[in-house]
């Protein structure tokens, strides 16, 4: 394990501490809970608060999206492990400006349970909470069981849309509807070329044989649709586009937002090689790329691989996307 670590048990605390030092102009740590990161802009009286949270090791997600017109508070878990109910609860309490709180997170068993418990705790304080559970990962369950699908990089679009909506002073149901529409309009796929190692464990979480790739891999190395021979980048790009678009029924002329994220150890030039073909392929299908992000936006430690997310847009989503954000990652 060739890594920059101290005691593996301290890695999350040190990450959060370093992160808040580096971005002290945008974020701070919660006064009493070191596992909650707050935007300096929160709370805003009369505005809906936006909360998310998830396991660590996906940096810049989740903490990097705390900021102006984005997420107000982030609950921070151990590596690849849901934050505690207490952290979600503390995050919720911190961002409540009297207009309710939208908790927008990914569909994982731990997160579902911890948010459920946090919600119970916050209800006792009289805080109105609504949740949206991201389930954009198309390979994690068939379309008929969308509620079983995991949430992946589409969460970034969900946060951006919801943050923008909340910034207009919209009421909670509108913010929730916007977040729900954003994630409903998202489809994502991951392709894994190399595994990652949790420092406490010390050996790779899973194997990907040399010359092979895992199509449909999850953000923690969850197995995908199939293991196949590693193909040229253009063919991988085509497969990714086909998989996400076949799960969507989009009319020709639909405008889309596209996010290509590295999983941590993929050279950045290769993300552009992929994106080059991805945009060509999307446009060849009669869609129009209106907005795009290419980079390490949602990683999985030092996993080698990339994800593609396509979100179908309408005028409302487009105007939300246009709202400027100031968070460390976006």
């Amino acid at each position: 394990m060739q890594r920059f670590i101290n005691d593996p048990d301290d890695i999350v605390d040190e990450t959060v501490a370093g992160f808040v030092r580096a971005h002290h102009n945008m974020v701070r740590i919660h006064d009493t809970n070191p596992r909650v990161v707050l935007s300096h802009t929160t709370p805003k009286i009369g505005h809906v608060g936006i909360v998310t949270g998830g396991g660590s090791g996906h940096e810049p997600a989740f903490i990097g999206y705390a900021g102006k017109n984005m997420v107000d508070a982030v609950a921070v878990g151990e590596l690849f492990s849901s934050p505690t109910a207490k952290s979600f609860y503390d995050a919720i309490k911190s961002v409540d400006g009297g207009a309710g709180v939208a908790v927008l997170y990914g569909n994982y068993a731990g997160d579902n349970m911890n948010v459920k418990m946090a919600r119970k705790m916050a209800k006792k304080d009289g805080i109105t909470i609504e949740t949206v559970v991201a389930n954009d990962d198309v390979c994690s369950a068939p379309a008929s069981e969308r509620e079983k699908r995991r949430g992946v990089a589409g969460e970034i679009f969900m946060w951006k849309i919801a943050g923008a909506k909340a910034s207009t002073g919209a009421p909670l149901p509108d913010v929730i509807a916007a977040a729900q529409k954003a994630i409903d309009n998202c489809r994502s796929i991951g392709v894994g070329l190399g595994p990652c190692t949790l420092p406490q464990v010390g050996h790779p979480n899973f194997e990907i044989a040399s010359g092979k790739m895992e199509v449909g891999i999850g953000h923690h190395g969850e197995p995908g649709l199939r293991v196949e021979n590693l193909k040229p980048a253009n063919q991988i790009a085509e497969d990714m586009v086909r998989t996400v678009l076949e799960d969507h029924t989009l009319l020709k002329g639909t405008e889309v937002a596209v996010l290509v994220s590295g999983l941590g150890a993929t050279p950045i030039n290769e993300l552009y090689v992929l994106y080059n073909r991805i945009e060509q392929q999307i446009e060849a299908r009669g869609l129009k790329v209106h907005f795009q992000l290419v980079g390490n936006y949602f990683t999985s430690l030092e996993m080698v691989g990339a994800t593609l997310t396509v979100m179908a847009l309408d005028d409302d989503l487009k105007s939300c996307l246009a709202v400027e954000t100031a968070s460390p990652a976006l």
Partner: protein, 212 residues
Amino acid sequence: MQSISNTGAGVIIQDIAAVIVENKAHLSEIDGKIGDGDHGVNMAKGFGRAADRLDPLGTLTDALGVLSDVLMGEIGGSMGPLYGMTFADMADDLGTTETIDAVAFASMIRAGLEGVQDIGAAKVGDKTMIDTFVPAVDAFDAAISQGKSFSEALAAMKIAAEIGRDSTVDLVAKLGRAARLGERSRGTLDAGAVSCCIILSTFADSITARLS
């Protein structure tokens, strides 16, 4: 009738924690086969911290409360809520009971089981800790209703827990990370089923040793 005093039984949680910590690598290894390989780490951290903080001379109720607070407040993941609710509901059920006899224990573990099922919604056969927990609780109840003593019922619970644990080898995971593996999840133990067996077995051993 066999019983132990609630006061002073805090040490039982330290006994359980010691065995969990001992099995840290083992539990992670099992989780690594079809999960993400952190079960031992999560469990050892939670139980270890609770053992450091609780008062062994205090009540089992309080010790369960400390353990539940650590799990829910500091561990997160799935274990935080699942075992957190288990022990919270056990502590609630036990409450101010002064003497823990077979009836009190039966009620306590049933409450714990319901707590975890309430939050996790797993059923027997899903390849989770529930595959250990349900038959173990049922076996304890059955032994008591057959007129067995507390220690005999604990022994029956322990055997049922082990059988339940081993039953997970042949199951296909329906919940949690391993569920994505489908058929590939068959052929290995479930990590939570193993840790649940450790917890119930050490409860049995530790109480049996203290039964007056």
